[in-house]
């Protein structure tokens, strides 16, 4: 119970800081819209191939936006030397990590709230519940993995280079399965539910693994 209240306090603190400084979300929202504009001009699409192209554009935009959002989650703490202040309390590293991941995931969800309707508008594809749930499920797994590696590389000078190198290989299952789920949802297919079930399994696996690893990454 105490761990949950700590995680929520950490997330609330990160979101309040972002709300006041507006460092990440406006830039990310601008980035995803620009990515869609470029894709809109770069691809020759029509009503037949749009459901095949749009998921690729969606996941490309999400992956790069995620790298920025999760990278900043721990870089700012290290720069302010505030991570150590948090760790010098009896709060468990897993609770602190969960709060950081939750806040970073919510920031990405805000970008998705811009990205998904814009995608539907630019590519004239349907925006369905299955599509949104696939993106949200993938966001959870991507957030915990992204934040874990962001915490690992935060004290390294070349962190902007290292973070994608470490994170992208482990994000591939989310992009592949999420891509299939979104494609199926856009073209009215029936495989979305099984893909979403698989995404949920991956989420549970990585939430447990990253919570166990958090102590060694943050505190030791």
């Amino acid at each position: 119970m105490r761990s949950i209240s700590i995680a929520l306090a950490v997330a609330r603190k990160d979101l309040a800081s972002e709300w006041r400084t507006r460092e990440i979300v406006p830039a990310l929202a601008q980035f995803v819209v620009l990515a869609l504009v470029i894709a809109n001009f770069g691809f020759q699409f029509d009503s037949h191939n749009a459901p095949a192209i749009a998921p690729g554009v969606l996941w490309m935009a999400l992956v790069f936006a995620g790298l920025v959002a999760f990278g900043r989650a721990f870089a700012a703490e290290r720069e302010q030397a505030s991570l150590e202040a948090m760790l010098m309390t009896p709060a468990t590293p897993a609770a602190i990590f969960a709060g950081k991941a939750l806040a970073a995931a919510l920031l990405l969800v805000i970008c998705e709230a811009v990205l998904l309707p814009a995608l539907a508008l630019f590519f004239a594809v349907p925006l369905t519940f299955d599509e949104v749930s696939a993106v949200l499920l993938a966001t959870v797994g991507m957030a915990v993995l992204g934040c874990l590696f962001a915490a690992m590389v935060a004290r390294v000078r070349a962190r902007e280079l290292l973070l994608p190198l470490l994170t992208l290989p482990l994000w591939i299952p989310f992009v592949v399965i999420g891509g299939q789920a979104v494609q199926s949802a856009m073209s009215g297919g029936s495989t979305t539910n099984s893909a979403n079930g698989l995404l949920l399994d991956l989420d549970i696996l990585f939430v447990v693994l990253t919570s166990l690893a958090a102590r060694f990454v943050l505190d030791d």
Partner: protein, 214 residues
């Protein structure tokens, strides 16, 4: 009974030895000043005592607990002021303390008491990033005593503090065991009964007992 007992504390960073077999004993309620030039090993020693770092070798017992094993339990009983204030610039002074109240498991009513103690009650609602460097240091000191710890570890807490700073340190150290790193011999003389001088990671001479000035 000693609150802190460190034996042969050694810290190496690659080929460099930052601390070389330091023995340390601090009694309950005692105030120890750690003196030395830049790079002498003061911060390294204090970070080990605060459980923020693990020594390469040596043993450390704090309140009778093994500091390498019982870090989380000990952190509830240690207040640490590090070299950097480590505050959240977008949050107000009060919000910074309220956040750490949650992490420490302390009632939020303590925020007002601590702001009053460190002389920041008037700027409680101001973002920490807009406070002067001295006020930020006061806030960091306030955060260190938020949970009323019996042991304070203070790494150059006088940095950026104004002329009233030593009075604040006297107030927060009263009734607690404290270990403080400073360059200021006069401050050490005022705050501490005993001093430990480091040079290149080693203790210089024998620990000295200082004249106490009230």
């Amino acid at each position: 009974m000693s609150t802190i007992v460190g034996t042969a504390l050694t810290q190496r960073f690659g080929a460099e030895t930052a601390l070389d077999a330091i023995d340390l004993a601090v009694d309950a309620g005692e105030h120890l000043a750690v003196l030395g030039e830049n790079g002498a090993g003061k911060t390294t020693l204090l970070r080990i005592v605060a459980t923020a770092a693990r020594p390469t070798s040596g043993t450390l017992q704090i309140f009778g607990l093994d500091a390498m094993v019982e870090r989380r339990r000990l952190r509830a009983r240690i207040g640490f002021v590090a070299h950097a204030p480590g505050l959240y610039p977008a949050l107000s002074a009060a919000e910074n303390l309220a956040f750490f109240c949650t992490l420490q498991g302390v009632d939020r009513a303590r925020v007002a008491e601590v702001l009053d103690l460190v002389g920041l009650a008037d700027v409680a609602g101001r973002p920490a990033g807009k406070l002067s460097r001295g006020a930020q240091q006061r806030l960091a000191i306030g955060r260190a005593v938020l949970h009323d710890p019996p042991l304070l570890v203070l790494d150059e807490p006088d940095a950026s503090l104004d002329s009233d700073g030593p009075d604040l340190l006297v107030k927060v150290m009263r009734g607690r065991t404290a270990i403080i790193a400073t360059h200021d011999h006069a401050l050490a003389n005022r705050l501490c009964k005993r001093t430990l001088e480091l040079r290149r990671g080693r203790v210089v001479g024998v620990p000295t007992r200082l004249r106490v000035v009230h």
